[in-house]
C-alpha cells in the first residue's frame, strides 16, 4: 500500500515541481532549520499576532521574573551567608511586602490577559470560509478531501521514506501528497479521525486541532505567503506517530487552479469519494 502510494507521490511531485516552480524569493520554507531557537516562520495574521504576543509580552515578562529570582538568590547567598552574616535576623513579617508580591503578579497577569483573550477569540471565531477542506486522520496517514465545488476528490498523504526523498526535501516530515491551498483565502479545515486521536498541526499557521473519532473539529487559516509549510501529528497515536507528516503547499490562485485541474483527474480515478456525502464518523 505504502509503496504504491509512494510511487504515485513521486510522479505527482514531479508534476507539481513544474506547476509550483518557486518564483524567486516568493516561496517560504515553513519548516524547522538546524540550530534555530525561535518560532517557525509565520504565514497567517494570527500566527504573526501569536508570535508578537509571545516574543514582545510573555517572553520579556518570564525572562524578567526568572532573572529577578536568580539575582535575588545570588545576592542573598553572597550577602547573607554565615560568614558574611553570622547573626540571623528574626524578621518574619512585612505586610506591605507580602501585599506587594501578591498584587504585582496579579497586575502582570491582567496585562498578559488582554492580548491573550483577544487572540483567543480571533483563533476560535471562524470567519465565513472561502473553501472548506476535510482532514481525516487514521493510523498512520492523513486524508485530505476537497468539496464538490473544487471537484469533490480526496487523497491520502503518506510519509516518504528517507530513500525516496528528492533533493531538498527534509527527512521524516515530508509527505508524498501535500494539502494544496490558495493564498489569501479563508480556509476552514474540518478535522476528524477514523481510529485513535491524532492532532492536525501547522505551526506556521498557528493552528493545532485534535482529530477525534466521533467529532468534527474545526479550525481555520488565511495564508499570506506562498511556500511549503510543515507540521506533524501532535498526539500520540501508535507506533508510527512520528511518521505522520503534514505538508501544506500555499499557491497563488492561478497555480492553485492549475493544480486543481490536474488533481481532479488524478484523484478522481484512484479514489472516488464525495466528501460531502462521506460518512462523518467511522468509529
Amino acid at each position: 500500500m505504502r509503496v504504491r502510494l509512494n510511487a504515485i507521490g513521486a510522479s505527482l511531485a514531479a508534476v507539481l515541481g513544474t506547476l509550483a516552480a518557486p518564483k524567486a524569493g516568493a516561496q517560504i520554507f515553513g519548516g524547522p532549520k538546524p540550530g534555530e531557537i525561535g518560532f517557525l516562520p509565520a504565514n497567517t495574521e494570527i500566527a504573526d499576532d501569536m508570535f508578537w504576543f509571545h516574543n514582545s509580552i510573555l517572553l520579556p515578562v518570564i525572562i524578567g521574573i526568572s532573572l529577578l529570582v536568580l539575582a535575588l538568590i545570588i545576592y542573598i547567598v553572597w550577602r547573607f551567608n554565615e560568614t558574611a552574616n553570622p547573626v540571623p535576623s528574626r524578621r518574619t513579617h512585612n505586610a506591605a511586602l507580602e501585599f506587594a508580591w501578591t498584587v504585582a503578579p496579579a497586575l502582570i497577569l491582567v496585562i498578559i490577559a488582554v492580548p491573550s483573550f483577544r487572540l483567543l477569540a480571533q483563533q476560535l471565531i471562524i470567519p465565513a470560509p472561502d473553501l472548506t477542506l476535510k482532514v481525516t486522520a487514521s493510523q498512520w496517514h492523513w486524508n485530505y478531501g476537497y468539496p464538490k465545488s473544487e471537484g469533490g476528490f480526496s487523497f491520502d498523504s503518506l510519509y516518504v521514506e528517507e530513500k525516496d526523498l528528492k533533493p531538498g526535501q527534509p527527512n521524516v516530515i515530508t509527505a508524498d501528497h501535500e494539502l494544496v491551498v490558495p493564498i489569501g483565502k479563508v480556509i476552514e479545515v474540518d478535522v476528524t479521525s477514523q481510529d485513535v486521536i491524532h492532532s492536525f498541526s501547522v505551526p506556521s499557521f498557528g493552528i493545532k486541532i485534535d482529530a477525534i473519532p466521533g467529532r468534527l473539529n474545526k479550525s481555520w487559516f488565511k495564508a499570506e505567503h506562498e511556500g511549503m509549510f510543515y507540521g506533524q501529528c501532535s498526539n500520540i497515536c501508535g507506533i508510527d506517530h512520528a511518521f505522520m507528516p503534514i505538508n501544506v503547499r500555499v499557491l497563488s490562485q492561478r497555480d492553485y487552479e492549475a493544480w486543481l485541474a490536474q488533481a481532479k483527474k488524478q484523484f478522481a480515478v484512484s479514489d472516488q469519494i464525495d466528501v460531502a456525502a462521506a460518512p462523518r464518523v467511522q468509529p
Partner: protein, 573 residues
C-alpha cells in the same frame, strides 16, 4: 513569645522498650505497622523505581541523540526477541509511557508522601505513630503489587504482535481501548493504576486522621510545621481526585472487556469525556507531586537560614489556594480538543490565577533567606536550586496557560521542557533536599557532604542542559513522544542527550553517596544541623528509637500567636 517544649517525659523510655517486642527479620518489614519502617520501605521502593525510571529516560535520550531509530531495535530485541523496526518504535512508546508512570506513581509519590510523610509527620507533630498502622502497611504493599502489574504490562501483548502499552501515561482512549491496544498490556496498566490509587487513598485517609487527631498537646494547626501542612493538603488532593480517576479507569476497563461504550463514539460515548475525567484527577496530581516538596523546601530553607519561615500563615494559605485552584483548571491540558471559546476563556483565566499563590511561595522562601545566616550544606543547595528551577518551570507554565499560545506549543517539546523543569528538576530537587536533610535523622549516619555537593552540581548542570534546549525544539515545532525526527532538530537533541547523560552520572554519584554513608558510618548525633533545626524530630536521637513520642511532648506558647517563634516551625526556643 517565648516558647518551651517539655521533654521531661517523652517516649524514649526504656520501660516501654521492654514491654514491646520489636519484630526482627523479614517479619519486621512485611508485617510492619511502624511508621518509620513503612517509611523506610517506601523510600527503598522510591529509590529502586527512581533508578529504573532513570534508566528508561537515559535510553530514551540515547535514542533521540541523533536522527534515525538506532537504539531501540537492540532494546526491543533484548526484551522481546523482536528487533524489527515496528517492534523498536513500539518499544520506544512503551518506554516513555512507563517512564512517566514509574516516575510519578512509584518514585515521586512514594518518596514524598509514603517515605518522608510516614517518617516525619508523626515525629514532627509529636504523635506516637500513624492513626491506622495496619492500613499503613496495606497502603505500602498495594503499591508494590501495583508496580509489579505495571512491569507485567511491559511484557504483555499490547498492539497486535507488540509488547507493552505505548499510549502515554495519560491513557487516552481510543489508544488505550480495544481500537488502539487490543492486548492485555493496557488492562495491566489500568489495574496497576487502580491499585496505586487505592494505596494512595488509604494513605491519605491515614495522614488526614493522624494530623487532625494526633497532634501533641499545644500543637495547634497554625503551630504545625509546613511539611505536615503540605502532607495534609496533598492528602486532601489525593482523597478528592483519585476516586475520579478510579471511575474513569473502571469505565475504560469495562469498555475494553465488557462491551460498554462510555468512551466509544459508535455507542454514543465520547473519548473526550475520558480526558475531562482524567485531567480532573491528573491536574491535582501534578500538585500532589510538588506540594510536599514545598513543605520540605520550607523546612530546609528555614533550618539552614537559621531563621523562621517568612510569612508562615501566607505560606499555608498559598498551599491551600493552590490545592483549591488545582481542581478548577483541568481542561487547560485540552485546549486543542475543540472546546468552546468560553470554556477556553475560563480555563485560561483560572490557570493564570494559580501564578499568584505560587509567586507568594517563591518570594516567601527568598524572604526567609533574606537576613538569615545561610549555611550552604547539601540540603540547602538542593533547596536553593529548587527555588530557581521551579521558578523557570513556573513561568513557562504561565506561557502555556494562554490558550492562544498553547495552540502552538501544545504537545511539543516546549511542554516536555516545562513539566520536567517543575518535576524532574523541581520535585526531584525537593526530594533530594529532604533526603539529605533527614538522612542523618533516619539512619543515624552523616553522608560525605563533599560528594553530596558534587551530586547537586553535576545534576544541576546535567538536567538543565538536558531540558533547557527542549524549549527551542518546541518553538521549532518538534512534537513530543516521537521516536525519530527530522535532521533540523539534530543539534539541540544532541545537546539535550549529553545533558541527560551528565544528569545520569549525577545519579551514580548519589548511589555512591548512599553506599559510602552506610560503609563509613559517620555518627550524626541528634541534630547535625545546629540551631536552625527546631522542629520536633531533631529533639529525638538519630536514628530515633522504634517507638517515639509514646508520651507526647507539650508544645507551649501563646494560643493566638501565629508568629513562628514556636517549637514546630522555626524557633530556637
Amino acid at each position: 513569645m517565648a516558647s518551651v517544649t517539655d521533654f521531661s517525659h517523652h517516649g524514649v523510655d526504656a520501660h516501654h522498650e521492654h514491654e514491646h517486642h520489636i519484630p526482627t527479620g523479614w517479619r519486621r518489614y512485611l508485617y510492619s505497622t511502624n511508621h518509620k519502617d513503612i517509611g523506610t520501605l517506601y523510600l527503598i521502593l522510591a529509590i529502586i523505581c527512581g533508578l529504573i525510571g532513570t534508566v528508561l529516560s537515559i535510553l530514551i535520550r540515547a535514542e533521540l541523540m541523533s536522527p534515525g531509530v538506532q537504539v531501540f531495535p537492540w532494546i526491543s530485541a533484548i526484551m522481546t526477541g523482536d528487533g524489527s523496526a515496528d517492534a523498536a518504535k513500539n518499544m520506544y512508546n512503551v518506554f516513555f509511557s512507563s517512564h512517566a508512570l514509574i516516575m510519578i506513581f512509584f518514585m515521586v509519590m512514594p518518596a514524598m508522601m509514603g517515605g518522608f510523610g510516614n517518617w516525619m509527620v508523626p515525629l514532627m507533630i509529636g504523635a506516637p505513630d500513624m492513626a491506622f498502622p495496619r492500613l499503613n502497611n496495606m497502603s505500602f504493599w498495594l503499591l508494590v503489587a501495583s508496580f509489579l502489574l505495571l512491569m507485567c504490562s511491559m511484557f504483555a501483548e499490547g498492539s497486535p504482535g507488540m509488547h507493552g502499552f505505548g499510549g502515554g501515561w495519560v491513557l487516552y482512549p481510543p489508544m488505550s481501548s480495544q481500537v488502539g491496544t487490543p492486548g492485555p498490556a493496557a488492562d495491566f496498566v489500568i489495574l496497576s493504576m487502580h491499585l496505586a490509587g487505592a494505596s494512595s487513598i488509604l494513605g491519605s485517609i491515614n495522614f488526614i486522621a493522624t494530623i487532625f487527631n494526633m497532634r501533641a498537646p499545644g500543637m495547634t494547626m497554625f503551630r504545625m510545621p509546613l511539611f505536615p501542612w503540605s502532607v495534609l493538603v496533598t492528602a486532601f488532593l489525593l482523597l478528592l481526585s483519585l476516586p475520579v480517576l478510579a471511575g474513569a479507569l473502571t469505565m475504560l476497563l469495562t469498555d475494553r472487556n465488557f462491551h460498554t461504550t462510555f468512551f466509544e463514539p459508535a455507542g454514543g460515548g465520547d473519548p473526550i469525556l475520558f480526558q475531562h475525567l482524567f485531567w480532573f484527577f491528573a491536574h491535582p496530581e501534578v500538585y500532589i507531586l510538588i506540594i510536599p516538596g514545598f513543605g520540605m523546601v520550607s523546612q530546609v530553607v528555614a533550618t539552614f537560614s537559621k531563621k523562621p519561615i517568612f510569612g508562615y500563615v501566607g505560606m499555608v494559605y498559598a498551599m491551600l489556594a493552590i490545592a483549591f485552584l488545582g481542581f478548577a483548571v483541568w481542561a487547560h491540558h485540552m485546549f486543542t480538543t475543540g472546546m468552546s471559546l468560553n470554556a477556553q476563556r475560563y480555563f485560561v483565566f483560572a490557570t493564570m490565577v494559580i501564578a499568584v499563590p505560587t509567586g507568594v511561595k517563591v518570594f516567601s522562601w527568598l524572604a526567609t533567606m533574606w537576613g538569615g545566616s545561610l549555611s550552604l550544606r547539601p540540603p540547602m543547595l538542593w533547596a536553593i536550586g529548587f527555588v530557581f528551577v521551579f521558578t523557570v518551570g513556573g513561568v513557562t507554565g504561565v506561557v502555556l496557560a494562554n490558550a492562544a499560545i498553547d495552540r502552538y506549543l501544545h504537545d511539543t517539546y516546549y511542554v516536555v521542557a516545562h513539566f520536567h523543569y517543575v518535576m524532574s528538576l523541581g520535585a526531584v530537587f525537593s526530594i533530594f533536599a529532604g533526603f539529605y536533610y533527614w538522612f542523618p535523622k533516619m539512619t543515624g549516619y552523616l553522608y560525605d557532604e563533599r560528594l553530596a555537593k558534587w551530586h547537586f552540581w553535576v545534576s544541576f548542570v546535567g538536567i538543565n542542559l538536558a531540558f533547557f534546549p527542549q524549549h527551542f525544539l518546541g518553538f521549532q515545532g518538534m512534537p513530543r513522544r516521537v521516536v525519530d525526527y527530522t535532521e533540523a532538530y539534530a543539534f539541540w537533541n544532541m545537546v539535550s542527550s549529553i545533558g541527560a547523560f551528565i544528569g545520569g552520572a549525577g545519579t551514580l554519584i548519589f548511589v555512591y553517596v548512599l553506599y559510602d554513608a552506610f560503609k563509613v558510618k559517620r555518627v550524626a548525633g541528634a541534630n547535625p544541623w545546629g540551631p536552625g533545626a527546631t522542629t520536633l524530630e531533631w529533639q529525638l536521637p538519630s536514628p530515633p528509637p522504634f517507638h517515639t513520642w509514646e508520651e507526647p511532648p507539650h508544645i507551649l506558647g501563646d494560643e493566638h500567636d501565629h508568629a513562628p517563634a514556636i517549637v514546630g516551625h522555626g524557633s530556637a526556643a
